[in-house]
Amino acid sequence: MKNPNELQKKYVPDMGQKETEDLRNLIQSDSKKTIADYISRMKKTSPNRPKAMEYFDEIANLFGQRQKELQAAKESGKKIVGYFCSFAPIELILAADAIPVRVNSGWYDAAKIGDRVVPVEVCPMVRSTIGAKMVSLSPYLELSDALISVSTCDGMTKLGEIMGDYKQVWTLPLPRVKDSAQSLSYWNKEIRATKENIEKLTGNKIDKKKLRSSIELVHKATKAFRRLQELRKGPPVIMGRDAMLVNQSFMWDDITRWTQKTEVLCDELEKRAQEKIWACPPDTPRVLVTGTPMIWPDNWKLPSLVEEASPQGVIVADELCSSDRILNDPVGVDEWTMDDMLHAISERYLMASTCPCFTSADGNEDRINWLINKVKDWKVNGVIYYVVRGCMLYAMEYSRVKKVLDTINLPVYYLDTEYTREDVGQMKTRVEAFLEMLTARIDF
């Protein structure tokens, strides 16, 4: 592997060491405060918050225990593979005894640093991830030995390229027409190439046995994950923000431990449901959030506004690749042969995704179906369509989603924002008006 210091930087300007360190320290200390603040606000919203959330509050500290664990694993010779999109086949990473970790940045202030490389019109999550790398802010991104970038939206495609200034990047070209005759076989070849890349990086051969056990490991996580979402169908046993944090922490936690802790949480929630202990009044308007991913810690703005609003709302489901979509779909293996397992992995990551980067004869019909099913089964009263500036694909699909939701008489509100704290007041006004509208409809 190339020494990163020898890489010729194609995009990123040189920054002085002092400036880099100052910026990192500043954002990191602010971020620690933000993490603590959001956790305490989540506790405040839900005074009888499930006890099992304590574990997730710990793991939510991006500069805490998990960072140390990854550091130690790396020192013992393990490889860490970072990824930007939920299309990265984590089963292959695990099968090579490497550690997968998603490295998108939610830090608002890092986006301003990214502005030195790309214009402000670019998606702030992309700008922020670039900025985070420029000042070595993200422990998980720093620890990554290689990065998987998937050519989904324009921002993500170029993000991978820019990250090439620092790290070994494997870009997976994603076919964007899902029902084309070639797409799946093309993607399957890319998945196989990724397997080889991972094997080369780790020096570990991915054999049938190892791959099967990693698929089964993720199956167990999926089971716990789906159990949690299932529990959110009834009267609210958990606030949406708490569930979203559990979902998202899968992206960086140890998978076996995460699964076990999530099962413990679900046990507690089931008991609460039996005892009719609700996280908020059962007639609280039930909200579904869809759109641009929301990354912990800074970009917890919208879920916080919804659940701290007056009148209050509760997020019971979402259609975000940073939450409910992470583990929704299991790898469906027919026969435990290498070919079949790889095919099943290809299928799971390509066909099950509802990302707006796809189109097909029916357009992105899969996303529409997901939304309609979620809205019905989770008894949703209203949808917030969340888009950050520069998130072209989600912005463009709004009209279609709105039309469909209109036909089932479900209110939807389009909320656009940025990686900034300054618009919280304006957003609050809109969110509260929307919740007030939902309350009026429920009462009527």
Binding site: D416, T429, R430, M437, A440
Partner: protein, 257 residues
Amino acid sequence: MITAGIDMGTQSVKVVVLKDGHVVGRGKTFSGFDPSKAAEEACTEALKKAKLTPSEIDHVTATGSGMEMALSSDSTISMMGADARAGVFLFPAARTVIDVGAEEARAMKCDDHGIMVDFVVNERCAAGAGAFIEAMARALEMKLEELGPLALRAERASPINASCVIFGESDVVTLIHRQESKPEIARAIFDAMADRVSSMIFRLGLTPEVVLVGGVAKDVGFVASLKRKLGVEILIPEQPEFAGALGAALAAASRTK
């Protein structure tokens, strides 16, 4: 039953006192640096006109961007919710209520029961709101009130781009350099603003009857431009800037029932 609505707007505070479904008093002051105090003054004015004392009010509801600063209020309602109520109260056939204020424009869709079912707000930009007219009037060295009547005298449209106040101003300067007449420039300003507001309304879906409220509804230049863009008649109540406060007073009345 006597209720009051306080609209804590970005530029001014408006108060409406409602007695058994009739407006009996209004008050208005500039928000200034101490909106809480401004609210008190506006309330005092409205109560004086209504010949009532504060203790006679059953319920006070606040709305507007600074609603939390209305110290004497018993409850709050969103600006959108207040506008929708007021629009349907003033014109029972209203299904679309548009509010153009100093810093924000918004549009609400109402159902047959007068309940808001959808809304849109202009996106973090003053180009669709009253502040835009003020800035443009300054650029033309004119009084705000003069701009509207002037625009009505324009013989043709000269389009400018109101993507934001700053760029709008530089576009106006371009028109000045081209030696366009003042009426034409004034109309260009209102057309640009109406473009922003109408595209927002088309996204929401235009359902008649259409009611326009908020301070900018008093500007004949803007109303003419908006009417042209929307292609429908626009109903405007007397004293449209009090709609938010009226809606809040109506909400207060339903909350005391």
